[in-house]
Amino acid sequence: MIVSDLPSAELGTRLADPGLHLVTGQFQLCIRSPIPALAATIGLMYADYPLGNAQGFTDFHVTLEHPTGLRRWWRKQVVFEFDSALPFKPLPATQAFPMLEWGLNWCVSSYANLYLIIHAAVVEKNGFAAILPAPPGSGKSTLCAALVTRGWRLLSDELTLIRTADGRIVPLPRPVSLKNASIEIMQTYAPQAVFSPKVFDTVKGTIAHMKAPADSVARAAEDACPGWIIFPKYQAGAATSFVPISPAHGLMRLADNAFNYSSLGLQGFETVAGLIDACEVIDFTYSVIDEAIAAFDALAAEALERQTGKAS
């Protein structure tokens, strides 16, 4: 059963109590919230996710609710609760859905230490994954959103999980976070995609989420082989260009973008080094989305050819 199989009234009741159990990638979540607007957005963004087993083991139990006290009525707020603790300051109530997403990212990146976790989008085609680490504002999420509406599989929009045991990438497909101008760009570029309502005045500006493609959600158990590490940069008017980066330089830049590189110690270094060895490392500049996608498709086609060439 998936979330959209629940009647919408049932979704709200379940969220309020005892909480909605659902599965994203390797993790079972239990989200509890009495906030009706949040229930509606969860119903929209998580429609395709398998329902979890409430009698089984849940990795992360989170609660989003209005704080008690005066702020229940005046300038309503929302708090994110994990294991009876509040790891973040309250946010305005309208930001409940982004707060859920940030909070879930925090749960995974703070605890799941059997993965090297890189702050990067990651997409897959023909069995190979392209990791897109980048600072905010580089157009990483826009590029990721565009690729997954044109045949690439979404592995994750924010957290690339590399299993330290074997160096493979474990998917965590969740809604793609879009900021400011990217929201309208994507709404025009992929009118068939589903978007959450815009949330204004967050710390990152205006935010909206794009629903993960149903196929990516359905294939969340299939891990992928790392193929490329591509540092994307959107630059108005620039020609589409690939510039290879030296492995040593790539290693440092990748480590800079990892959440738990230093807490993994030697294992962190070995995982990053293995990843650099397995991948082509590239600086990628683009301004036209269609050209960028064509360039990515060409990479995927080459990889497929190399692989079939090897096999025959």
């Binding site: 009698q55 089984g56 083991f57 990795d59 294991d83 230490n113 230093s262 807490s263 294992q267």
Partner: protein, 354 residues
């Protein structure tokens, strides 16, 4: 309260493999909230039981094992850096760092944020300037806070390293100077034990280590890690009591240092919550230090609640009030009434303006 999963798991690690998935779900949450998840991992690993833990909860235990291993490595590096900075000055490690470096049972899977050391009061300023010269910085910039630590507390204001962001607390005593009881620091330092394999690095003698741990827990006003600290005491008592004369030395030393009441609490609550084996004659003798009725009964009501993890499944209607009462008690014991009133007034009305 006896059926709390976290307590049964700590008392009898061998009971964990019998748990169902839903019990594991709750146990993992209670342990994470109590900062005891890595402790559970090490208990299971020592008993050779990890393979009997179902896959999903085992993942959570493995995740935290990674953090704990790295933490232990970082503590060793940090202690070496501190020794380097203090070139040749003997350093007595306290609490977490002492357990880890001395390889004592409570060190296994213990994750903590500061390194605590004990030095003679006369050398406090020299130690501080040596640390400042090696990259540590004052983390309390408020003049009032500086005075609070330097004149009234038992430690310098915490120092933080500017690059590694590690924190060191330099103590000259184990309890604040303003408290009615202040165990003799000279006696503690004189009995300290050199660590094999290290130069100029010491830890408190076994009895003193237990008493410091007890004083820290039962005179503290905020019990953020109450159960974790009680687990330390339990592990230390079980370990040191393998030496036959330990119990006698412990009660004797508690008397000498003026910490008998504190030892009473330590033995009472480790036994009550964690079933620590305490020989009946020792338990009977320490009863002399029991506070008069009704205080003894009130303390039971408070500590049975406040020592549990602050997780929804471990609290009842009275937990919040119990924590508040112990907060007031901790502050009450910390300073004489007038000084305390002045301190709380400053913290409430003057500090927020800065």
């Amino acid at each position: 309260m006896s059926e709390l999963l976290i307590l049964s798991a700590l008392r009898l690690p061998a009971s964990m493999p019998k748990l169902g998935l839903q019990q594991w779900d709750l146990l993992i949450r209670q342990a994470r909230r109590g900062n005891l998840l890595a402790r559970l991992h090490s208990l299971l690993a020592q008993a050779g039981l990890l393979d009997h833990v179902p896959y999903q909860p085992r993942q959570h235990l493995e995740w935290t094992r990674v953090t704990a291993d790295r933490h232990a490595q970082a503590v060793r590096t940090e202690v070496a850096r501190i020794q380097q900075a203090l070139s040749g000055q003997p350093v007595i490690l306290l609490k977490g760092a002492a357990y880890v470096i001395a390889g004592l049972p409570p060190g296994a899977g213990r994750v903590f944020s500061d390194i605590d050391i004990l030095v003679p009061k006369a050398q406090l300023l020299d130690v501080e300037s040596a640390l400042l010269a090696h990259g540590w910085m004052a983390s309390q910039h408020d003049a009032y806070d500086q005075r609070y630590y330097r004149e009234w507390m038992h430690e310098l204001p915490p120092l933080q390293h500017m690059l590694r962001e590690t924190t060191i607390d330099v103590h000259h005593a184990i309890l604040p100077q303003t408290m009615a009881m202040h165990p003799d620091s000279n006696a503690l330092r004189a009995a300290a034990v050199p660590l094999a394999g290290y130069q100029d690095l010491l830890v408190l003698a076994p009895t003193d280590m237990v008493l410091h741990s007890a004083a820290h827990l039962f005179y503290e006003s905020e019990l953020f890690n109450g159960l974790r600290d009680l687990v330390d005491l339990d592990a230390l008592l079980r370990h040191f009591s393998q030496t036959p004369e330990f119990w006698h030395q412990l009660t004797q030393r508690a008397g000498d240092l003026g910490l008998t009441r504190c030892l009473y609490y330590a033995l009472r609550y480790t036994r009550m919550l964690l079933h620590t084996p305490i020989p009946p004659p020792v338990a009977a003798a320490i009863e002399d230090a029991r506070p008069p009725f009704p205080i003894s009964a009130i303390m039971d009501v408070l500590y049975r609640r406040a020592l549990l993890p602050d997780h929804a499944s471990c609290v009842d209607h009275a937990t919040f009030a119990a924590r508040k009462c112990l907060y007031v008690r901790g502050n009450w014991l910390r300073m004489p009434p007038l000084k305390l009133a002045r301190h709380l007034f400053h913290k409430a009305f003057i500090s927020p303006r800065h």
